[in-house]
């Protein structure tokens, strides 16, 4: 145990606790974003840079932003635009918690048992881990995490994209409340004009890097979504008619994944398999389509609608 880890762990717990107890959900979501960024650091410490990238971009960024957006909408509408009256406390005061002691005790007991269990478990080297190392050359994908995501356990990834799509379809069924336009801002527009192309470049790099290093379609898609949203905030003419969030674009990634999974799978002798020698181009094609669809999906989750 070293001091850095201890400090990191304490800060993590502090942020999580204060996010859950924060005075308002707006504050809570800001603290949650900080929590997520710190967690990304922890992932790096634990030797999982791929997870760190996904956490920072998707876990902290998108989730926190979604919560903050909704919280500020609630706040502004409930009290007609003026800030809540009453004293501002230096330290967040728990509000709206009904102490249900039975539940608290139950949760505490569960957590104690859980802690005992995880301390008692003797981690096995694990058949799956060894198998990954053994079969990596045969998979023809250099990066082990990408090999797991798109070859060994590609089926998980496919279903997970389906989950994401289901969420978008369901989200579009419950239309977002009317939205106010943001005033055009020259400074933001100028900065965005430089940043957005750079972000697009980063997205492409992450996509390309995924085959040999950390990165991949999810991280790239998140960066892509960030670029599109920034362009929207700054009124840049990227995706002006919300073409990106139309059903064919959203469905593209999964459709291509299924198509390749079946056609290439039929040639390879197993669904979601790749014929030998074709792995790299096929995986790249799937990842590219996934990047576009994931980016569009994340944008759509923020409020794009089907009929623009």
């Amino acid at each position: 145990m070293n001091a850095t880890d201890l400090l990191l762990a304490l800060a993590l717990l502090l942020l999580a606790g204060s996010a859950l107890l924060a005075r308002s959900v707006q504050i809570a979501s800001v603290l949650f974003i900080a929590f997520g960024l710190l967690l990304a650091l922890v992932w790096v410490r634990l030797g999982a840079p791929d997870v760190a990238l996904a956490e920072a971009a998707i876990g902290a960024g998108v989730a926190g932003a979604l919560l903050m957006l909704a919280a500020s909408e609630f706040e502004s509408r409930r009290i007609g635009g003026s800030r809540a009256a009453g004293p501002r406390l230096p330290w967040p005061r728990p509000q709206g918690w009904r102490p249900r002691w039975a539940l608290v005790l139950l949760a505490l007991a569960c957590a104690a048992v859980l802690l005992l269990a995880v301390l008692a478990i003797e981690p096995l080297a694990g058949a799956a881990t060894e198998a990954v190392a053994r079969n990596l050359p045969q998979s023809e994908i250099a990066h082990p995490v990408t090999a797991v995501l798109l070859s060994f356990r590609a089926y998980d990834t496919l279903l997970e994209i389906a989950v994401l799509l289901v969420a978008v379809v369901a989200v579009q069924a419950a239309p977002a409340p009317p939205q106010r336009a943001l005033a055009h801002d020259p400074v933001l527009a100028r900065v965005a004009a430089i940043t957005v192309p750079l972000a697009l470049l980063v997205a492409l790099y992450l996509l390309w890097a995924g085959s040999s290093r950390s990165g991949g379609a999810f991280q790239a898609g998140a960066v892509l979504a960030g670029a599109v949203l920034l362009a929207r905030f700054a009124s840049l003419p990227l995706d002006p008619q919300s073409r990106l969030t139309r059903p064919p674009v959203l469905a593209l990634g999964l459709a291509l994944f299924i198509l390749i999974g079946l056609v290439a799978g039929a040639l390879a002798g197993a669904a979601l398999g790749y014929p030998s020698g074709w792995v790299k181009p096929l995986v790249l094609a799937i990842e590219a389509a996934l990047m576009v669809s994931i980016g569009a999906t994340l944008v759509a989750l923020f409020g794009g609608s089907k009929t623009a």
């Binding site: 999580a16 634990l46 997870v51 909704a70 909408e73 509000q95 709206g96 802690l115 995880v118 989200v171």
Partner: protein, 106 residues
């Protein structure tokens, strides 16, 4: 592997925090936030229980599972947030009826 073991209590505590939040918080958004905290705790336990090998790289299977889990969590969170916004739009409430007790939360 004493360097890893500190994350076991940390992960368990995050699971506890998230569980308490999901059970006790009244606002829908807070419950969703707590769901995410709980999920992070579970993922932390997963990686802490699969210590990195001599090359310092964590179990790739565990990493892939966590990435999948993060994406699923964001899908669920986004759906929950949109339903909560729509519900607020229609009813003016940020809590579900059974949680709408004494104190108002935001």
């Amino acid at each position: 592997m004493s360097g890893v073991s500190i994350w076991l209590p940390t992960g368990s505590a995050l699971v506890l925090f998230g569980l308490l939040g999901m059970l006790l918080a009244s606002s829908i958004l807070r419950k969703l936030l707590a769901f995410n905290v709980m999920g992070s705790g579970i993922f932390l336990l997963l990686l802490a229980l699969r210590p990195p090998g001599p090359d310092g790289v964590a179990d790739p299977v565990a990493q892939a599972l966590i990435i999948t889990g993060i994406v699923i969590a964001i899908a669920a969170t986004a759906l929950g947030v949109r339903l909560a916004r729509r519900y607020f739009e229609l009813s003016g409430h940020t809590e579900l009826p059974e949680d709408r007790a004494a104190t108002r939360d935001d």
